[in-house]
Amino acid sequence: MIFLSNLVNGISLGSIYAIIALGYTMVYGIAKMLNFAHGDVIMVGAYIIFCGAQYWGLPAPVAVLLAMLVCTVLGMTIEKLAYKPLRQATGLAVLITAIGMSYLLQNTALLIWGANPKVFPSPFSTDALHLFGGELVIKPETLITILANVVIMIALSLFISRTKMGKAMRCVSEDRGAAELMGINVNRTISVTFAIGSALAAIAGLLLCSSYPMLQPTTGSMPGIKAFTAAVFGGIGSIPGAMLGGVLLGIIEILGKAYISTELGDAIVFAVLIVVLLVRPTGLLGKPVREKV
């Protein structure tokens, strides 16, 4: 029963990684860059929800919508001001800019909200689920996190495969020049990608802080790195890969902490990543790189 409980918690934590990983993987697939500030957008989203609920007296759903809006605007602004001017620059210049942007967001949060951790109130007030005569207790946030992940995955897959914007994203991801020749506005497509990733980051902020209620300016940093790992693990650029990588990573982390070593939990996660990449350099669901002729 303890194992089952750990497994459920692993899937839940992994679902959070998966939702964050989507932001990394979509931006990587379409804009061909690693947006290392993505984790910090989660933190900003969580602070907006916190302030909305604690200080501004907003009902929880309104606070969440507000956070999504703020994060969307933030993500699009970061892209426009910091990354778009570097579209022709080397990958290294973009990477350093992204790392700088990450610190800028953390330090700005430090300035506004201070270093003291805030206790994030869980907006999910329903009772815990008691199964097997009370032996397996599942908290509402755990369940909602898993459900949210499933809903987001289905919605995003439909968006990518059915809508005009979704198809444009796939084209830009495959061949930016050819996409332009079709009449696709590449800049706008990249901007929308950042918007979607950042809105999802706000949701990830909500789910993360509901399960782990300590909120501080560095809150998004470690989950961001792990979600990035999950994206690479699943195959960067692949949406189902982000889902699979995220959930597996969450399970490995929780089970590793429970059965191997609490202290080494994170090290185990990265060890598994390294082994997987040695065997499959493009990740679990990544497309093998084809040589361009």
């Binding site: 198809k167 332009e180 020749l181």
Partner: protein, 241 residues
Amino acid sequence: MSESPKLPLLKVNGLHVYYGAIHAIKGISLEVNEGEIVTLIGANGAGKSTTLNTIAGLLKPRQGTVAFGGMPVGGTGASKMVYKGLSLCPEGRRIFQQMTVKENLEMGSFSRPKDELESSMAQVYGFFPRLKEREKQIAGTLSGGEQQMLAMGRALMSKPRLMMLDEPSMGLAPILVEQIFEIIREMNRAGTTILLVEQNAQMALSIANRAYVMETGRITMEGNARELMNDDNVRKAYLGS
């Protein structure tokens, strides 16, 4: 009653294009009139693709002008050019490998109103019945010839006034080359003006009305395609006789 002189559909004037410090196009001028097939031939590295990519808006010229349909279009990005009626079928095909044949064609009509999709698709399948059979196949798994057909079909989906084709015969068996050129001729008869870049000068000159010969970034000869085919210099340099 004085007749106003007919404007060419495409007019390129004194174009210079650089890749960093490399001066790839050194002041070329050319024209394509409505209804024509014009070919641009020349050896590998002469600057043919650079010329087409610049006209299509993928590259920015440092100097010179491009006018399409009588309007200057210099500096217009590639994604806007297709809305003006200009379509490029690029070198190396560049179809969307991970999408199906049908999805590729749909993307070709991205710039067009949705209600045209059916009829455009039917027109493309008319030219390329093979694509209809392969509708659901992932484009990356098509043969080279089929991929070329798909690239041409996709370019046609935007209903261009001018279609530019960059080496459609590249890497294809002779029988397929003949087929592709026959289709280019048919597309032209159906009303699309063609600017064709080729290394296969023999084939290109045989279907074109007029031709330009390019060497290291400059146009060195131009004229009636039939006459160029019989020109001694052209025969020596490009027709191997």
